[in-house]
């Protein structure tokens, strides 16, 4: 019955189109293609209007009809509607006319965009009767699952690579889930979780709940459009791990266009950003290929370290369809990206954010994002989570004794050296 499923119709395979009931299942039985939620857009059109949305609370749930939860959300009701910051100083530094930062470094409650996907997955998991939730994670997802599960009174198991940054590990442990470290990299953790999900009746947010989970990312795109005055940005730069976020930003632009909620878009372009040390998707894009070659990740951007990206094909397709470019940056360029964003706009992003800024810088410099245009950068997580990556690379403090004379001498020196330079 339509009422039981909210505005959702079915799960559908993105490869062969076979349909499945709206349960906790994520792969097509026929060809292992990923399943995606299909909506009843006719009914949604009657329910959503700009006016109606604008009256709703300032959270991601103002776009409820397009999120895959049948009833009211019971987890993460405060998530989202993060600031869209006009970044004039950074725009000048990078040489572009207009730049915006979609700032998920301050997302609630765990300071990354993951809260969007987790609140959807956990709300839906509750609807499907699960009591234990779980995930395979490079860190941000584990934090988010642990925190949101705690707030919802759900039991949680999180699986992470053993060498994850200390900040991220403690950030999960504090909520009192079970945290299991796996002696391997992320892909191996995920593989194990797929096997566990097959045996235990748990809701793995990014395995068996993935079709619902992934849809939460669209909210970032919806908010960007609303915050720009119901417009699609000319350029969007999105970092890629599995590639899912980029494909869902694209979907969000398509959905609001389809529903007539944004001005008829002229061209819009979506670019993908990766770390050079794990760049299967951007490497393929630059070579003009439709498929990627899996890699073994080696980068400080651990949150983007997925060597076999499940949405790689689709991310490539989105970039191709919108004329977007893939680009990647080295570890040093990542750190520079983090510093630039912090110095110019007072926003401290984690390594993934450094990737996004670093790649935007390259795309603007090479003219792939024209200097005259406007761009939105999706910054996905807070810098406090990857302190290890910038310790020793954030400049130095000067030490003096507690004497006015010493301080004045210091200032004097600095004035002299600035004059010389």
């Amino acid at each position: 019955m339509a009422k039981d499923n909210g505005f959702m119709k079915a799960l559908k395979c993105r490869e062969c189109g076979r349909e499945y009931p709206l349960e906790a299942t994520h792969v097509c039985e026929y060809d292992f293609g990923p399943l995606e939620v299909v909506y009843d857009y006719d009914r949604i059109k009657k329910s959503m209007s700009r006016k109606a949305i604008e009256l709703r609370p300032q959270t991601m749930w103002r776009y409820r009809e397009l999120l895959p939860v049948a009833g009211e959300p019971t987890v993460g009701q405060q998530v989202g509607f993060t600031p869209l910051v006009k970044a004039d100083r950074l725009a000048k530094r990078l040489g572009i006319r207009e730049l915006w930062i979609k700032n998920d470094t301050v997302n609630y409650p765990t300071l990354s965009f993951k809260d969007r996907v987790v609140s959807v997955a956990l709300s839906r998991a509750r609807e499907l009767g699960f009591e234990t939730v779980s995930c395979a994670s490079t860190g941000n997802l584990a934090n988010s699952v642990a925190a949101n599960a705690a707030a919802a009174g759900l039991k949680a198991y999180v699986f992470i690579p053993h060498d994850l940054e200390q900040g991220k590990v403690v950030n999960s442990l504090i909520y009192n889930p079970r945290v299991i470290k796996i002696k391997g990299h992320y892909d191996e953790v995920n593989r194990l979780c797929a096997e566990i999900a097959g045996k235990f009746p748990w809701a793995f947010v990014n395995v068996n709940m993935r079709p619902y989970y992934a849809e939460g990312s669209k909210s970032m795109g919806f908010e960007i459009m609303e915050q720009l005055g119901w417009k699609i940005p000319r350029h969007t730069v999105v970092c890629m791990a599995s590639g899912s976020l980029l494909t869902k930003i694209h979907k969000s632009y398509q959905e609001l266009s389809k529903l007539g909620l944004v001005e008829a878009p002229e061209d819009y372009t979506i670019h993908g950003a990766q770390a050079t040390g794990c760049s299967p998707i951007t490497t393929a894009q630059k070579a003009g290929l439709d498929f990627f070659k899996p890699v073994k990740p080696n980068t400080i951007a651990k949150s983007l370290a997925i060597g076999t990206p499940a949405d790689g094909f689709y991310a490539l397709r989105c970039m191709k369809e919108t004329g977007g470019h893939g680009e990647d940056v080295t570890d040093d360029e990542i750190r520079e990206g983090i510093r630039l964003l912090a110095e110019c706009e007072g926003i401290f992003a984690e390594t993934a954010g450094g990737v996004t800024v670093g790649v935007a810088k390259k795309l603007i410099a090479s003219g792939k994002i024209p200097a005259d245009d406007s761009a939105v950068l999706c910054v996905t997580g807070n810098g406090l989570k990857t302190l290890d990556a910038v310790i020793g690379h954030a400049g130095e403090a000067t030490t003096i004794g507690p004497r006015l004379r010493e301080f004045e001498a210091l200032l004097d020196d600095e004035t002299k050296s600035t004059a010389k330079a």
Binding site: E15, H26, V27, C28, E29, Y30, D31, F32, G33, P34, C135, A136, S137, T138, N140, L141, A142, Y186, D187, E188, N190, R191, A194, E195, G198, N206, V207, R210, A241, S242, G243, S244, F291, K293, P294, K296, I306, G307, T308, P309, A310, D311, F313
Partner: protein, 92 residues
Amino acid sequence: MAKVTVGIPTPLQKLTNGEDSIELDAETIGSAIAALQAKYPGIEERLVDEAGEVRRFVNVYVNEEDIRFLENKETTLKDGDEISIIPAIAGG
């Protein structure tokens, strides 16, 4: 001929009478798939497309190494090798 074990993922267990682990004799991944097909008709079409290549969302590992880093279907097997078949990896 190598004696190997093949782990069958949940979505395919319907085709193997619920068995999650199958023992086979095979020289390569390609012949392992053929051997599976001989035992459980219909399974090959789930794993391999019309062009004869392993489907792009099917990940096959030999002792935890993705066959795409080895020789794909031509990857040779030895006694005791463990093959696992897993749907694609998702982010977190």
